[in-house]
Symmetry: C2
Subunit: 138 residues, 2 copies
């Protein structure tokens, strides 16, 4: 886990990590949230909506922003203030995602960093684009 | 689970539901995301950051937006396009949250509804404010 202070982080600083979305993750996300929408576990229903297989929860992909901030950028001193997430292409169970963040701005007054987020799948397809504001609490 | 069509949803339509954040939910969220930040499971560390107890993951609270869209508004025909989440006050394990959504706009061209989101805790404190754009896929 990174332990960057506000001063150690510069505009342009990048971090990334990789995760594979498993069936177990999908099931645990449903248990946590109670989101029983069949798009995520009924292949027939998913097909009726134009998908070859079940779509992973969009907000499951968004959950990895928690890790990006809390473990990587800035890591231990992280306190997320704001997130903005655009779902551009579907994520499927079995996909391997790369979650990347790049610091685009720093607010000295509040010790807040602004991070541009991009999630791509194993084929390089941009599945999620986003933005975070993260306080660095030392 | 609701099955609203685009035409059945009017501006001002409201839906809400209630959920209690358990330790098991917190632990499952960590397993899914790999976010091992000690703010969420080390009371001593949480205290050093000014909290009486461990803070629940912000993105765990954000996850309930999945349920708001996929089960309630519009329910079965939901496809989330965009979310925006502001974390205003900390959420703790044991808190009972009310997640509410209200339709603020409709885009006829793309069958998209815009939903204002508010999450309050058992004391009526606004812990999360947000916004979603959700396609109604019939």
């Amino acid at each position: 886990m990174n332990t960057y202070t506000f001063d150690e982080i510069n505009i342009g600083h990048k971090e990334d990590f990789t995760v594979t979305v498993t069936e177990a993750d999908r099931d645990r996300f449903r248990e946590i949230t109670g989101d029983i929408n069949p798009l995520h576990n009924d292949p027939k229903f998913a097909k009726s909506k134009g998908h070859d297989k079940c779509v992973a929860f969009g907000m499951l992909s968004a959950s990895y922003l928690s890790t990006l901030a809390g473990v990587y950028l800035p890591g231990k001193n992280s306190l997320i203030q704001k997130t903005e997430v655009n779902f551009r292409k579907p994520v499927y169970v079995g996909d391997t995602l790369t979650i990347s963040g790049e610091v685009t701005d720093k607010s000295e007054t509040f010790n807040v960093i602004e991070v541009k987020v991009l999630i791509t799948n194993q084929d390089g397809v941009k599945v999620v684009k986003g933005k975070m504001e993260i306080a660095v609490v030392e």
